[in-house]
């Protein structure tokens, strides 16, 4: 029988052990296997063939992979430059004094997060349809012309993916900004008002600095999240036309499960891991996440 003090000292280890067990089995081991596979050539049957760094040299000469990286960076850029400001704008609107129905609005904007991405993507596929889609129908209604090939023309296809990202994630980010805005002491605004600061001035000198921790959190979340983008391009365009909307995650999926190049896909995974890690680190350093501790 263990003493009470001893049990108390061991309890936290017991409490965290289920997590670390699962963590080791389903995260560390796969990462190790992935690292090993990335140095082999393997179609899923038989023994993996050791090829050293071949997969990596091949990756950096692979035009598809480079396209996937560029596309993914474009999606990340779009998220940071459009989705985040849109979410901040909406949060600012929701935080307006005396606003009625705040909870209703907040709830409505969050709905896309609740729904399955497959449902959302299929719906948008229908909206984007060149002949029958709602988007072209609306354009025809308003401007008398609506012949945009939303999913068939490379630039429009990229934009279509981005619009879906905007629709799907803005409401989610909004709730973080709104929570951050609510935490800003009213007195700061009152002081600014007494000093004669205008709305724009107040926004840049009171709101933004006070929101910095939340903004940093949102920006990092968005960058790391969008760097992994898969469902939107996969379901809307299958990465097409050509490879116009292909993302890195889609590339990995394609190499592994449609082309059976598991070693090659694993190497792409390792590269992606490094990229996401660097993006996260850079964003953390620039925005100072966790620095206050």
């Amino acid at each position: 029988m263990l003493s009470v003090a001893r049990r108390r000292a061991l309890a936290p280890y017991a409490f965290i052990s289920p997590f670390y067990l699962l963590y080791a089995l389903f995260l560390i081991v796969p990462i190790g296997i992935g690292g090993y596979l990335s140095l082999t050539e393997w179609a899923g049957l038989g023994t993996p063939l050791w090829v050293g760094l071949d997969n990596y040299t091949r990756l950096f000469g692979d035009a598809s992979f480079l396209t996937a990286i560029v596309n993914t960076l474009l999606y990340v850029l779009f998220s940071v430059c459009v989705v985040v400001p849109a979410a901040l704008l909406i949060a600012q609107a929701l935080n307006a004094r005396g606003l009625r129905g705040r909870d209703f609005f907040r709830l409505t904007f969050f709905i896309p997060v609740v729904l399955s991405p497959i449902i959302i993507a299929l719906l948008f596929t229908l909206f984007y349809d060149r002949e029958y889609g709602l988007f072209n129908a609306a354009l025809r209604g308003f401007f008398g012309w609506g012949g945009i090939d939303w999913l068939g023309e490379p630039s429009w296809a990229k934009l279509s993916v981005m619009l879906l990202v905007l629709w799907r994630w803005t409401g989610y980010l909004t709730i973080f900004f709104l929570a951050g805005l609510k935490n800003i002491p009213r007195e700061l605004y009152e002081a600014a008002a007494i000093d004669g600061a205008g709305r724009v001035h107040t926004f840049f000198n009171v709101t933004l600095p006070m929101l910095k921790p939340v903004t940093a959190f949102v920006a990092v979340t968005v960058m790391v999240g969008t760097a992994q983008i898969l469902e939107e391009p996969m379901l809307l365009t299958k990465g097409g036309p050509g490879e116009a909307t292909l993302s890195v995650a889609m590339f990995i999926y394609r190499e592994a499960f449609t082309r059976q190049q598991l070693g090659y896909a694993a190497a792409a995974g390792v590269v992606m891991f490094v990229i996401v890690f660097l993006i996260g680190r850079t964003a953390n350093a620039v925005l100072g996440v966790g620095r206050e501790k």
């Binding site: 108390r8 936290p12 596979l37 004094r97 629709w167 709104l178 939340v214 992994q228």
Partner: protein
């Protein structure tokens, strides 16, 4: 424009609010521009969903008409009956629900236990262990998918429930969320009192801590449920037998099938969305507050 100007007015001299709180001074006048923006956004967020709902009650030929038909005429339930008659919809529904409920239950328990330990105990290596746990959030999903799949195949794991549930029941985010909440919500004095009464450490957790964590448990439960119920990528990889499809896979298969059965896709989407929407609406406050708590505090 005028709304902007009236809002700016109180900044001028003599404009600080001397009126009693709640009275209609210019500063509390309802911002009209804000309503216009918000209502336009509501339309953008809700219209696609209403379109799907309305179209699911239309005959196939009426779904894509120009100009679009706002309400179904004639109204028909045919898409729903045909979906339920010709597809194993309830099978998909059962798989999704079982997987989501089991994952949610297990992960809420695992996360609460670990979150409590990180919040309320001092132990060696705590900081390192926490950092290790926390940084796992940044591991991209696509990176572990291939090796994880290989690992399961090599280990001879063919059970769909195992593959869909077990690898995902310990989300680091959940532990983080629980720790943030437990730090505030569980007073040390209460723990000490229970210990003096002779409670074991685990008894402490089940009888004292869990009830105190209830709001956060609710938030994490909705979050896990939605994650599992809506997941698409991983099931796509591990489930090959159509009889064992989850809802997202089933709906996807209807669309991928020849002739793109849009009518069935819409009916299926509406039915599939019902449980997640109900769950969200019931636990919305806890979910939204719980999600933001960690981000705003840290």
């Amino acid at each position: 424009m005028s709304a902007l100007q009236t809002r700016r007015a109180p900044a001028g001299p003599g404009a600080h609010r001397t009126a009693a709180p709640g009275s209609k001074s210019p500063a509390t006048r309802r911002p009209r521009l804000v309503y216009v923006l918000l209502i336009a956004l509501v339309v953008m967020f809700v219209l696609p969903l209403l379109w799907a709902l309305s179209s699911s009650f239309k005959h196939r030929g009426d779904i894509f008409t120009y100009p679009p038909q706002p309400l179904p005429s004639p109204f028909t339930l045919e898409n729903y009956t045909r979906l339920l008659d010709t597809q194993p919809f309830w099978g998909w529904f059962a798989t999704s629900t079982i997987v989501a409920v089991v994952s949610t239950t297990v992960s809420v328990f695992v996360c609460a236990l670990a979150g409590f330990a990180f919040a309320k105990y001092r132990f060696r290596g705590k900081r390192l262990l926490f950092d290790v746990m926390f940084s796992s959030m940044a591991v991209p999903f696509a990176v572990i998918v291939v090796p994880l799949f290989v690992m399961l195949v090599k280990a001879g794991v063919t059970n769909v429930y195992f593959s869909l549930i077990v690898p995902w029941v310990a989300p680091a985010f959940g532990i983080f969320m629980m720790r943030q909440y437990a730090e505030q919500a569980v007073p040390d004095s209460v723990l000490e009192a229970a210990r003096i009464d002779g409670a074991s450490e685990f008894g402490l957790f089940t009888r004292v801590v869990l009830p105190l964590l209830r709001p956060a448990l609710g938030a994490l439960a909705v979050w896990s449920f939605l994650n599992s119920y809506n997941s698409f990528f991983w099931p796509l990889i591990v489930v090959s037998d159509p009889a064992q499809y989850t809802l997202p896979l089933g709906i996807q298969s209807l669309y991928a099938a020849e002739g793109r059965q849009v009518d069935l896709v819409l009916a299926g989407s509406v039915l599939a969305a019902v449980p997640s929407l109900i769950m969200f609406i019931l636990l919305r406050k806890q979910l939204l507050d719980g999600l933001t708590a960690g981000a705003v505090k840290s």
